[in-house]
């Protein structure tokens, strides 16, 4: 067989997204229209159309990604999740109302237990959705794959969530890195595993410095805003709850705007740092990923995407997601090379349907 690149010769790669906003606005527009007349059932197909377009507009080394998922798979996955999980949950909640009296401790315990399971299921759902995404993504005819335990991921996410809460958020960045590591270390491009490595470049990202700025900055901004409200209105001028003066409410929310902007700057910096930290940890074959995404990228996208969604009355949501992905992709670069000749087709069994649990739990993302 003749091969471009030749046996043993590696190829350097460029990651690029060329999506245009018009096509995404169109998909968002007809998805919303058809959702209206189908009681939102069309959403599974709308989401598939969006992904198909976004994937194919994203190329790696000149070859576009190929999304092979189908709306029907999402529809079936959703129904399976609803009938195997959500309806039994609901039935249990109703049944305890029938079978147990108000003084029974169990009546209070059952919903709590269900919520505990539900919190674990959030992580399980995220994992399964990702497994589906990767199994339906191809590059050069080769499938991506996700292996590992969905329940293990769910329990880890639940535990990290508790730790994050106990530490007032300070475990959050570490939790995010650990969860990314857990996910990526079990991800494959065909036969080739992804590696999540704490390289010097990755660990040099100021994860906790940016988090501290975001955390302390948000706290200070919040206190400063309260100070501004008190200074402007005085204690007597604050709304009492009985009668609300529109001018007072206008002042309170108006004075909030500069502080929200300030907080957005802090949070955008941290978000950009986190993305860079995770991307720079990734390696597949001989290629190491890198990212140049900056505070200003995230800040600008946050503002413009919010305006896009508001001014299109929601149907610009997909376009906003595309803009975010486009920026992330176009700020990524690849150092080193991949020996494509050494990469074989994935032997990981792909799920037959997808992300129903995530849809059932309202955790769905278009990409």
């Amino acid at each position: 067989m003749s091969e471009t690149g030749g046996v043993g010769q590696a190829e350097s790669l460029e990651i690029k997204n060329t999506s245009n906003i018009g096509s995404m606005l169109w998909i968002g527009f007809y998805t919303i229209l058809l959702n209206l007349v189908t009681l939102t059932i069309f959403r599974f197909w709308g989401r598939t159309h969006f992904r198909r377009r976004l994937w194919s507009d994203t190329s790696v080394g000149g070859e576009p990604l190929h999304y092979t998922g189908r709306g029907l798979e999402l529809f079936i996955g959703f129904f399976i999740a609803i009938f195997t999980l959500m309806l039994p949950f609901t039935s249990i909640l109703i049944a305890v109302q029938f079978f147990l009296g108000p003084d029974t401790l169990f009546l209070a315990v059952v919903p709590l237990l269900l919520y505990l399971v539900l919190f674990i299921l959030i992580g399980v759902a995220i994992f399964l959705a990702r497994r589906y995404h990767l199994s339906r993504t191809r590059l050069r005819g080769i499938r991506f794959a996700q292996t590992g335990s969905a329940i293990g991921y769910g329990i880890a996410m639940f535990g990290y969530g508790i730790l994050t809460g106990i530490t007032l958020g300070w475990f959050g960045p570490e939790a995010r890195i650990r969860l990314s590591r857990k996910m990526w270390r079990k991800a494959y491009f065909g036969s080739e595993p992804f590696h999540f490595e704490d390289t010097a470049e990755a660990t040099a990202e100021p994860v906790y410095a940016s988090f501290a700025v975001a955390w302390v900055g948000t706290l200070i901004a919040y206190i400063a805003w309260i100070g501004v409200v008190f200074a402007g209105l005085g204690v007597e001028g604050l709304p009492t709850g009985e009668e609300i003066d529109p001018a007072t409410i206008g002042y309170i929310y108006g004075s909030l705007i500069p502080f929200v902007f300030l907080i957005a700057i802090f949070v955008s910096w941290h978000e950009a740092v986190m993305i860079r930290r995770i991307v720079k940890s990734l390696r597949v074959n001989g290629a190491r990923l890198s990212s140049r995404i900056s505070l200003w990228d995230i800040l600008e996208l946050s503002i413009t995407n919010t305006l896009l969604i508001v001014f299109t009355l929601g149907f610009g949501f997909m376009a906003a997601q595309m803009r975010l992905w486009k920026r992330i992709a176009n700020r990524m670069s690849v150092e080193g090379e991949i020996d494509f000749n050494a990469i074989k087709q994935s032997d990981v069994e792909a799920p037959s349907q997808g992300e129903g649990l995530a849809d059932g739990l309202d955790l769905i993302s278009n990409f």
Binding site: E3, F42, Q97, L139, G141, I142, Q345, L361
Partner: protein, 364 residues
């Protein structure tokens, strides 16, 4: 290369290697040659992959992993040997079938929502063992009293009122032992939960402060709902709607159902038929207990005057009145059942205890 042969790139779906290939275009199929390897792809099984890369990308429906990339010249030739091959008509047809199919499914779901669920709620309520309904009523009442504070003197007021309630329940054959509660809420309202749990608000006592017979008539009306098991029906209706909406729209079903069970039942809404039936039951019960159904008409009038006619005040009208705009009709019907005389079931002293129990507590 022959005139119908073109250079191409081929990914065989076995490795990520890009193979240099030669493609031969025939009348109904194309042939891919990679070295010694030969693949035949019929045009009818080809799918075009939209993509940002160079060239026309094709997959075969029976070998989804393999990808063939054709250059501009081959693409032009392909369109001439297989005209209309990727004109989008197949996608448009599929989309049309999908949309029509989904609209039919939506129609069926709507029928289940608006016809099936309401129709099933009554037989389901009747089939529910009374023990179950009793327990559910107790649980819902317990949840409601965590939302609405019971009146300070609720227990004493209920003790005062209980003989009258028991007599009405007995006379009207309510079918459940009735547990009554007074809760603090400025809006005048009364509602019957499943299993004989009846709640009246302090606002209702205040509104009917000068007319205890009208208050008793409202209780008789609520006992009509208890007898018909309307609370249970409303529960099944709300739960059915909630479940179907959850199935359609997604979202955390558990959270929705908790809200449904815990919160929404306090806003029980009965349909017109149920309200009319409760009115009839109330009038019959009052007559049998030697009371005058005219009191029911006065209760409606008081509530109507509280509600007023403007949009703002419409929102204050209690649930059992607000869903039924034709209150005048109900007043007329109650008045038609009126009789001369009738005995007031509640003494001034007892009524004073109830009014006092529901007075607003002063802060501090």
């Amino acid at each position: 290369m022959t005139p119908n042969s073109f250079p191409a790139r081929f990914y065989d779906g076995e490795t990520a290697t890009a193979h240099e290939a030669a493609v031969f275009l025939e009348a109904a199929q194309l042939i891919i040659e990679v070295g010694e390897r030969r693949e035949v792809w019929a045009y009818k099984f080809l799918t075009r992959i939209p993509g940002a890369g160079d060239g026309l990308r094709l997959t075969h429906r029976r070998d989804k992993d393999a990808i063939l990339v054709l250059g501009a010249e081959a693409e032009t030739a392909l369109h001439s040997v297989a005209p209309g091959i990727f004109d989008g008509s197949r996608e448009r047809n599929r989309m049309g079938v999908l949309v029509v199919g989904l609209i039919i499914v939506t129609g069926l779901i709507s029928a289940a929502l608006f016809i099936g669920v309401p129709a099933a709620s009554e037989p389901l309520a009747r089939a529910t063992p009374k023990d179950f309904e009793l327990r559910m009523g107790k649980n819902l009442a317990a949840q409601i009293t965590t939302i609405f504070r019971p009146c300070r003197g609720s227990a004493q007021a209920v003790t005062t009122l209980q003989p009258i309630i028991d007599e009405l329940a007995d006379t009207g054959d309510a079918g459940f032992p009735v547990t009554f509660r007074f809760v603090h809420m400025s809006a005048p309202n009364a509602f019957a939960l499943p299993g004989g749990q009846v709640v009246a608000t302090s606002g209702l006592v205040n509104l009917l402060g000068e007319d205890p017979d009208a208050f008793v008539a409202v209780i008789a009306h609520e006992l009509g709902h208890v007898k018909a098991r309307d609370g249970m029906q409303a529960f099944y209706r709300n739960a059915g709607l909630g479940v179907i909406l959850e199935i359609i729209t997604g979202g955390s079903g558990v959270a929705q159902q908790l809200v449904l069970v815990g919160g929404q039942l306090r806003q029980l809404r009965y349909n017109r038929r149920q309200e009319m039936r409760a009115d009839e039951t109330a009038a019959g019960t009052l007559l049998k207990a030697n009371m005058n159904p005219e009191a029911l008409a006065r209760a409606f009038e008081a509530l109507q005057s509280y509600g007023g006619n403007d949009e703002e005040s419409d929102r204050k009208v209690p649930a059992w009145l607000s869903s039924h705009p034709d209150t005048d009709d109900r007043i007329e019907r109650a008045r038609a059942r009126a009789k001369a005389g009738g005995v007031s079931p509640i003494s001034d002293e007892d009524w004073a205890v109830i009014v006092e129990a529901c007075k607003k507590e002063r802060k501090g």
